[in-house]
Every structure is written in C-alpha cells, then in structure tokens.
C-alpha cells in the first residue's frame, strides 16, 4: 500500500512533466518556422493573410497592460481592506464581510465577465480600462485573503511595542505591522499577478480583443489568453501551432513569476504568513 501512496505523490511530478512535454513539443516548432524574433516581437497578427503574419507582441503588451492595470487598482484596495479586516474591523461587521470576500473568490470568471459586459463596458467601452477594472475586482479576494492572514501572523508584540513607544494605532499598523507582513503581502500580489495574467474568459468578454498594438487605455486589446481561446476553434497547421506557442509563452511567463517568488521566499525566509 505504501507504493500506492508513493505513486500518488509522484502524480504531480508526472503531470508537470506531461504538460511541459506536450506544450513544448507542439508549440516550439512554430518558433522555428516563424522565427523567434518575428514571433515574439512581430507587431502584426494576421493569420488569414497571404503570407500570414504571426507576431504576438501586441498580445504580450496587452497581457502586461491589463495585468499592471489590475494590480494598480486591486492591490491598494485589497491591502487596505485587509488592514481594515485584520486591525480595525468590529467583530460583527467582520462576520458579514469575510463570507462576502470568500464569495467574491468563488464567483466563476464567466459571471465576472458577464457582469463586466453589462455594467462596465457601457461606461468605458470594450477597452484596456474595462479589463483593468474587472481584473482589479477579480484579484481582490486573493489579495485580501492572503494579506489578511499575513497581517494576522505578525506577533502582537510588534504592535504593542510600537504603541508603547508612543505611536498611534494606525501608525503602528502601517509602519510596524504592515512592513513585518511584507513577504506575505508580496506573495499575495504575485498570486494576483498570476491570476490576472492567466485570466481568460472574463477578459475576452470586456477587452474587445483586437489583435493590434494598443495606443490608449480606451482602445480594445487582446491578451495572450484571449488569442488562444478565440482562434483555437478554427485554427489549423501553422496557425494552430502558433496558438500553442502563444500558450508556451504564457506558461513560461507564469513559471518565471512563480519561480522568482519561490526564490525570493527561499532567500528572505517566508517571514510572517
């Protein structure tokens, strides 16, 4: 029976190996056929032209824009909400807000997308801005949940020490407790980045999805994820391979983000939370 347990434990290794092999084997040939630089830095994506153009730079830029925008909106609100929940919230209110935040975390991305289509797009069009606002909302529960537990993990003596030195309540929280929870909050932000860059359905429904270089916040944009879902249904041959290669680029981005976080945590210790 212990062999069964061991094999089960190895299943995650097998899964990662299979995912890597199948993505790379199917996606890497496109890099060779299109040319690495033409593919990654080409600004024109027109798979139906003759000859077809497969440049995913607009999508890379698109993914970066919406992710940065989501972080700018989601992180301050999320971290401050976490401070409120961990340090300023009356117990009764907490019992109402906490399940609400958990509900936000569980709402499917299509529902967010549909909400965005109906409530945000009429105000800001199908644009980068709409996607940033919606993604900012979607990463809130991740940021709030993890930041809150990081804040709660800071030993109470830190706060009390600050108070004893004459700092006020919020000064102690913002200048002593918050920095002490720094690495936990950083993890929260990195997970938020991962969620925003990997989000697909909600972004498709509000971002407009034009595969060209965006010039302003109010223009439509297509992300890497959107590119895959929108065109995979009818793509064939090199087009299909280019889409899989788009997935490879996304996968590598995510790996880099996650590995740098683990490296950072390994170097600086996990801190509190």
């Amino acid at each position: 029976m212990s062999a069964v347990f061991l094999i089960s434990a190895l299943s995650s290794i097998l899964a990662v190996a299979l995912i890597c092999v199948f993505l790379f084997v199917n996606g890497l040939p496109a890099f060779g056929k299109i040319g690495v630089f033409k593919f990654l830095l080409g600004t024109e994506w027109s798979p139906n032209d003759i000859p077809p153009q497969f440049g995913i730079f607009p999508m890379i830029v698109g993914s970066l824009y919406v992710t940065v925008g989501a972080i700018i909106i989601g992180v301050p609100i999320g971290v401050l909400t976490a401070v409120f929940l961990a340090r300023a919230c009356p117990a009764k209110l907490y019992k109402a807000i906490k399940p609400g935040v958990e509900l936000l975390a569980g709402i499917p991305s299509v529902v967010y997308g549909f909400f965005g289509m109906a409530a945000i797009v009429p105000l800001t069009d199908s644009s980068i801005l709409s996607a940033c606002i919606l993604l900012g909302i979607m990463i809130l529960p991740t940021i709030i949940g993890l930041s809150e537990s990081a804040l709660r993990a800071v030993p109470e003596q830190y706060y009390e020490g600050a108070l004893a030195l004459g700092a006020g309540h919020y000064r102690s929280v913002f200048f002593i407790v918050l920095p002490a929870a720094g690495s936990g909050i950083l993890s929260a932000v990195v997970l938020g980045i991962g969620r925003a860059i990997g989000e697909t359905m909600a972004v498709i429904m509000v971002a407009g999805n034009q595969a060209r270089m965006p010039k302003s916040l109010f223009e439509g944009v297509r992300t890497l994820t959107a590119n895959i879902v929108i065109e995979m249904g009818y793509a064939a041959d090199l087009h299909r391979e280019a889409l899989i290669a788009t997935g490879v680029v996304l996968f590598v981005f995510i790996l880099i983000i996650n590995l740098s976080l683990s490296a950072f945590n390994a170097k600086h210790g996990k801190g509190w939370g």
Partner: protein, 274 residues
C-alpha cells in the same frame, strides 16, 4: 497634531477601501439577481435543450457528472499523496522536495494552459475527442494541488498522540492511517474537496477545448458536454439569450454560495474537533 492627522487619514483610507470592496460585492450580486431572477422560469429546468428553449438543465446535469468524475480521479490521488508526504516520507527525502515544487507549479498554471494541454494530450494524442472524460481528466490535474495541500494540512493537524495511541494498541501503520488519521482529518479534507468543486463549477477555459460545448446530456463519458459556466459563456455570445445567461449566472451564484457555506461548515467542524 501631525500624529493625530495621520491617524484620522489612515482610518479614513482603510475604511474607504473596505467600503469599496463591500460596495463592489453588493453591486455585483444585486445586479445579477435583479437582471437574472425575472428570467428564472420552470422552462429553464426542462430536460430537453433546443433552439427554442435554451434549457440549462442538461448543463446542470453535465456539471454534476464532470464534477463527480474529476473528484473520483483527483481525490484518491491527492489524499494518498498527502498521506505519503506526511506519514511515510522521511526527512530530507529528495522526491518530497520535487513533489512540493511541482505541486506549487501546478497550482500557478492558468486554466487556459490546462485547457491547451488537455486538448493536446487527452483529446488529440489519446484520441478521446471532445468528451466528458477528457474534460474531467484535465480538471482532475487542475484541482490536484488544491486537494493535496488541504489534505496534507488536515493530516498534519491530527495530534501525534492519536498516532501514538493507535501504535500503542498494536495497530500497524496502514491501519492507523485509515482508521485513525483519515477520519480525524476528514473535515479538513472535505473542506478542500468542496473548494475543488467550486473551482470545477466555475471553470470554462479548461473545458471549451477538452469537454467541448455540446448542450445535451451526455449519453456516456465519451460524449461532449458543457458545464453551466461553459453554457453561460456560449449564451453570452448570442444576444438573443441574454436573459437566459443572466438566469444561469444566478444559478451559478447560488451554487457558489452553497459551496462556500458547506466548506466553512466543514472547516469549523475541524476547528471544533482539534
């Protein structure tokens, strides 16, 4: 004076942020309910889906089937893996480090990448075509890290005195695991499983190119089927069926709320026991 000003300012911003979060939550829920509730009709729950009545019943049934099959694959794997990591693996075991790294990697992979992989591996390489089983296998890999981590934490939380007591009474390691440790850790494992159900119910991107989008109840596991979320995405593309899409959103919201309530109940039982 400056000290006072900072306190007032900081109190204001934190309250404002919390108020924004709460407002967004309320607006979202009220918005969906107001738009969706009027469209909840008995006809939406008819067994047959056709172009006149875009019933969500087949999608609801398919959701249950796909959830069940995914759990059937992922829960034993995840729980057994957790047992290995907590009860069997020795200190400094190299395999354990690799398992942890890969589990972390898995939990960071976006669902569209799972979808691509499922399409390349299950649908194309294994030639399962768009099918319930291809979708369920893809989702099983996706929820595996969640099940593993929550089971591991639940098992770790079982006090060592339980193990020592069982060993002292002459029970072997395996019997201790199945008779003592798993039952004691059950609420925590369950809470993880319920969260996994939530992820499956909400998933779209990983399913479109693995389970496909057929809107009928699948006759068997080799047929294509769409879950509620996929159903909703398909409807949102057709301006004719906006009302039905809102109604589906309401159903999804209710399901998510129930799942969350169940999960926190299970977690509370764990807290009470230990």
């Amino acid at each position: 004076m400056r000290k006072k000003m900072f306190e007032v300012f900081a109190a204001a911003v934190t309250r404002l942020a919390a108020a924004i979060t709460l407002a967004v939550l309320l607006f979202l829920i009220v918005f969906i309910l107001i738009k969706g509730l009027p469209h909840i009709k008995p006809s939406l729950f008819e067994f047959e889906y056709n172009s006149v009545n875009v019933s969500l019943m087949p999608a609801l049934i398919s959701t249950i089937i796909i959830t069940f099959v995914s759990l059937l694959i992922a829960v034993p794997l995840g729980v057994f893996a957790a047992i290995y990591l907590t009860e069997y693996a020795g200190r400094g075991n190299k395999a354990v480090a690799l398992v942890r790294i890969t589990t972390e990697t898995l939990s960071g992979i976006p669902s569209i990448v799972y979808g691509l992989f499922g399409m390349l591996f299950f649908v194309t390489a294994l030639d399962w075509e768009f099918s319930v089983i291809a979708g369920a296998c893809t989702l099983a890999i996706m929820i595996l890290p969640l099940i593993m981590r929550s089971s591991e934490e639940a098992i770790k939380a079982v006090p060592d005195t339980y193990r020592e007591g069982a060993f002292g009474l002459g029970s072997g390691r395996l019997r201790t695991v199945f008779r003592i440790i798993i039952p004691a850790a059950m609420p925590g494992i369950l809470a993880g499983v319920i969260l996994a159900i939530g992820r499956i119910v909400g998933e779209t991107a990983a399913l479109i190119y693995t389970a496909g989008t057929v809107a009928q109840v699948p006759a068997d596991l080799t047929r294509s089927a769409r879950t509620l979320s996929v159903h909703m995405y398909a409807l949102s593309g057709e301006s004719l069926h906006t009302g039905e899409a809102y109604a589906t959103a309401v159903v999804l919201l209710v399901v998510v709320a129930l799942i969350n309530a169940a999960s926190s109940m299970a977690a509370k039982r764990l807290g009470g026991k230990m």
